[in-house]
Amino acid sequence: MSAVELTFHERVAEAVDNPAEQLAVATGARAKFRNRAHAVAEFPAMEATRERARLIRAHTLSQLPQYLAQFSENVEARGGQVFWAQDAAECNRYITNLAQARGVRHVVKSKSMLTEEVALNDALQAAGVEVVESDLGEFILQLCGQKPAHIIAPVMHMTRHQVGAVFARELGVPFSDDPATLNATARSHLRRVFLEAGMGISGVNFAVAESGALCLVTNEGNGRLTTTAPRIHVAVMGMERLVPTLADLSTMLQLLARSATGQKLSVYSNIINGPRRDGECDGPEELHVVILDNGRSRILGSELAEVLYCIRCGACLNACPVFHTIGGHAYGSVYSGPVGAVLSPLLFGEKWLALPHASSLCAACREVCPVDIDLPDLLLRLRAEEAASGHAPLWLRLGLRAYAAIARRPAFFSSALRAGRVAGALLGSEGWIGRLPGPLAGWSAQRDFPQVAARPFRSQWKKRRQSEVGQ
């Protein structure tokens, strides 16, 4: 069953019903969270770099048309081709047509969340082109037909035993749960894929306007192989990926790996300046850069434009207590965690408006964000939008209206408190109510509700004031 057929609450219920997966995600996310904290503690310039990065992102986006034009001219000057895609369909059509026109039957991919967003693999496969993911995690997911559980650690939810079972079943190798052995199996299997592929498709971490460069960051080296071995390289980028200069890129790279995995720099920070040049012995002969809007210009014109600063490091997922509890799949969207809860309704529409509720607003996400996106504020704005558009459930709207009517009138309020105290005394004991009645039962299913105090705060306050005056 696809994720969207279930409601968000049903997906969450499913996720918390799976303690093994829940434990795997929480353990993985917490490990990454600690690694980041360690790396940041060792980097005295962190705060200054973060401020600079935020300025770079804001400045670039505020001047985006100029930088996009400069970038595309530089790509073309180096012999690359630029395609402007308004939406997912245009993006997928261009790449599928290109593959068919060049007689490409095998495509190898390096990890790209954007291609997940537009479901590029489905489009290529429907056109008869075979696609193989080369990132170890994405390769495992492709073998077992699953979606990424985390934007930078796609198989965070799986155990080594599960991966071993998938490899044994799908690749016909003897079972092993040793990560080094599994890694070697993937390496030799994917080597053949790289040799056969007529086209390599990659995402883009950053694009540099002043030089037309694409920057791709990987640890495994699949990003380099994907963009070197096949004859054609297609890079797919969201239009917000730009930075003005190489110096700006170096600022971003100082933050990306530290925030994502706690490394100072990822193993391969790969900067591509067009296809191979005359006299070079290797590298792709064609480079195509697809620049995608897919709703981003709409976000850019909204009060929530700040979310486009995101550099997809995943730090907010690792910091989020809700993500630890429900994992990436429960969000149901390509983008999970706090940033996913903001991006999904903005990119994919109203049916994702339940996601901004998946937050305790503790602001841990903002604290770790390398570009200081005010995620709690954006989440609140989306909740307000949902309420204003009448998408909140009827019981919630009526309940809140009733509450407002009572709370505004002191006499009503104290009678309601008295009623609550009586009801609470009947339902619970020793300060707690274990089970609330009727429509409130959902609240107490996972936790206790406090009884109303025997003496309300307001009367305690009044008494205190009186005794102070009396002294």
């Binding site: 505020s62 985006l64 170890l136 995690g137 080296g221 300046n273 040049r277 809007d293 434009a305």
Partner: protein, 225 residues
């Protein structure tokens, strides 16, 4: 036309002026670091990311160390940059004399020809390269791809041996880009390599050699003689 329509939509969105447009101040200068300290920092950081650093004092010692490293590998085929891009003269002759075979490195032409060339290259046990620079703060090597400097030598074989001189070490990426601004675009590919290929996808367990080399040796030559 298509581009204009795309950019027009972006321009229209920006009319809402929701974003500040303050230009970030220029990057502060990296303080100069004394050569010996720079070298020690680079060695420490490179080792921290599982690179194996071999410090030698002179160029002739670099060749000896390289031959030792080659002797530890199985197979006699290697990929290599042209001599002119290596800090040590006459490398290919020395390796040929020692019985090693340099594989042809041209990958081009029709898909079948490419596939055959790639398959042949994949037999190499070792790739040998020079470097454009190195970064002390992250222990990274900086490699470019130009005529005679193939990408595959640092990517395809299970072992990568890079030759580096102490004078090539910069404090960080910013100081390197400032000193060699043309490095950003003079080659079709500029890559910062920080340790051997690795993955922690499976249960956060670190494994090396996923797609790129599982072993990275850096032969670091202290003196220019």
């Amino acid at each position: 036309m298509k581009r204009e329509r795309f950019l027009e939509r972006v321009r229209n969105s920006l009319k809402a002026e929701t974003l500040p447009s303050v230009k970030p101040p220029p990057l502060p200068e990296t303080p100069t670091i004394e050569a010996q300290r720079l070298l020690r920092q680079f060695v420490r950081e490179a080792r921290a990311v599982q690179a194996q650093v071999h410090v030698v004092h002179q160029k002739h010692a670099a060749i000896e160390r390289l031959l030792q490293l080659l002797a530890e590998q199985s197979g006699r085929e290697y990929l290599c940059w042209d001599d002119k891009w290596l800090p040590v003269a006459g490398m290919q002759n020395r390796l040929t004399a020692a019985g090693y075979e340099r594989l042809p490195r041209e990958i081009s032409g029709e898909p079948q020809a490419r596939q055959k060339a790639l398959a042949a290259l994949a037999q190499a046990g070792v790739g040998i390269t020079g470097c454009s620079a190195a970064l002390a703060d992250t222990g990274s090597l900086v490699l470019e791809s130009r005529r005679g400097q193939g990408r595959m030598a640092s990517l395809l074989p299970p072992v990568h041996i890079a030759l580096l001189t102490a004078a090539q070490i910069y404090p960080d990426m910013q100081s390197f880009l400032r000193a060699q601004p043309q490095a950003g675009a003079r080659s079709s590919n500029l890559v910062f390599i920080t340790g051997p290929s690795r993955s922690a996808d499976i249960e956060q367990t670190l494994t090396v050699g996923v797609h790129g080399p599982g072993a990275l040796h850096i032969v670091l030559i202290e003196s220019e003689e």
